[in-house]
Symmetry: C2
Subunit: 317 residues, 2 copies
């Protein structure tokens, strides 16, 4: 590895903000050399505890994230934040709207905040978010918070990379049956009922607790709690921080953290390999074949399945 | 093709309910012969207009779907409905909760309703939902409504199979800025503000219209309207039906329906081929290799990228 690259790596793992930012941009844009960068950084990853925060829009996730970061930074911990926003064509890039206030805490020495767009995959957590986590992890963060907008693919992806997943609801999303239907039950390690100063909060909290109670027990003996917070007044946030630490401890004591991370890693490798397979397969010749056949398929002269079999078994390269 | 199979195909395309149900089960469970069934049915597809209905949980999508189906059936149209629910481990299969009332309209001759689980992909529209649409299409439906829970992957997938996508919001999801951030703007052909008898509805409708106004014009000159409905009182539903028909007409007049469907078809074929590639690649030997390497990667003795390159370039079969 060239000495300039070695210098770059050293700066990243020493938590140099400018180098981290540079690495994140390189990885996000899939620039040449980004994969070898990730390859080199990999041995320095594995220390950070990854917290995913998700939930419907308007639940106050950004505000809560802000509170948590202040708590952690105040305790001398190194924190990374990745705020994921869907790409909007008419504002370009990531919307920073109500994350402006985050900028002040981002100035703290031991805090690094990055806003990332999801590049049109409608809220899906593109692979570069997971890679961004790896860069932050390698830079020595104790905790990394991944905050997502909570629609589209993000809930699923969050659960596939986070060690602790927090689902934030508000009394108005109030139809807890809906939350259950929405599958959020399956991924939450901690439920937060935010804006709990609003009417109906206690009722919703109670309903949520009842529903959780009906769930079969978790694979590793963890009890999912429902915490009430009012992020705008910084209420309940210390309790939330405690709950996160409790969960982290429980994962470590039971050894389940290793199982969880092995599952994440397996998925990551499958995605990596499958992505490379696709890129390798769809060369110019095959893309051309697809474009030519599309007309015939649209006209029902042939069908997608026949075509798929043909193009896979054909020796055309 | 065997004569029993031919009989089966004929029954499906003649709209025989039992045969349609049998075909849907076969396809959903990926039973042996399901792909050849789809292959044979493909030439009969392409007629049905596919309507996707999505939005956050609790917005009243099921109720609106119910109203639309009654309107269409009342006008002698043949309608299929696919109600997609995330799989919940403690209720098993699809939740039928507030769709019980759908069962009555499902008894009508020209209406076919199917509830489908999303098999744990947290709201993602598994490929069998798209295939279920194809079966219904082949059975001669004029319209197919795909109703999704509206979290997870469904919004994105809906837009990749529906001709007309309707996004349903309620005044409480009210933070229209959030709806915009959530990327729902990008996929909606029609916005519906349901439960519009509630307070604040007019204000939210106005804000939504302003936001839409800021969008760059659509690729085919379509103006996205915001309709106010109160599904529980069947108010505004005729106007919604009219808007759907207007959109259908506009797609046909501009020829954009062909472009849209070609894009859907291309994505479908890419997914089909990529899925087959993955299945072919991950044979026992390679899976074994992955399981063996995982430990080394977890211990940072090697990294995912090195492994991915190795397993792809290796001649091991």
């Amino acid at each position: 590895m060239k000495s300039l690259d070695k210098l770059f790596i050293n700066k990243i793992i020493s938590s140099d903000k400018r180098s981290i930012a540079k690495a994140l941009t390189k990885v996000e844009n899939e620039e040449a050399g980004s994969e070898s960068l990730l390859k080199e950084l990999y041995k320095f990853t594995g220390k950070a505890h990854r917290i995913g925060i998700t939930g419907p829009p308007g639940a106050g996730k950004s505000t809560l994230t802000n509170c948590l970061v202040k708590l952690m930074a105040g305790n001398g911990l190194k924190v990374g934040v990745i705020a994921v926003d869907p790409t909007s064509p008419y504002t370009g890039g990531a919307l920073l709207g109500d994350r402006i206030r985050m900028q002040e805490i981002g100035l703290l020495e031991n805090v690094f905040i990055r806003s990332m767009a999801t590049r049109g995959s409608l809220g899906g957590l593109c692979k570069s978010v997971v890679e961004a986590c790896d860069v932050m992890d390698a830079s020595g963060k104790d905790f990394i918070i991944i905050e997502t907008v909570g629609v589209g693919q993000s809930e699923l992806d969050i659960a596939q990379t986070a060690d602790t997943t927090i689902v934030v609801l508000v009394p108005e999303s109030g139809d807890s049956v809906q939350a259950m239907k929405a599958g959020l039950m399956e991924i939450a390690d901690i439920f937060v009922l935010n804006k709990s100063d609003r009417e109906g909060a206690d009722g919703v909290a109670a309903t949520l607790r009842n529903i959780i109670h009906l769930k079969p027990p978790s694979r590793y003996g963890w009890t999912i709690n429902v915490l009430k917070t009012t992020g705008s007044q910084n209420k309940g946030t210390e309790e939330l921080m405690d709950e996160i630490l409790k969960h982290k401890e429980h994962l470590e004591e039971t050894g389940f953290i290793k199982i969880k991370r092995k599952e994440h890693l397996t998925k990551k490798i499958l995605d990596l390999v499958n992505n490379k397979l696709e890129i390798k397969f769809w060369n110019d010749k095959r893309r051309k074949e697809l474009n030519e056949e599309i007309e015939f398929i649209t006209d029902r002269k042939t069908d997608p399945y026949t075509f798929a079999e043909k193009i896979i078994s054909s020796q055309v390269i």
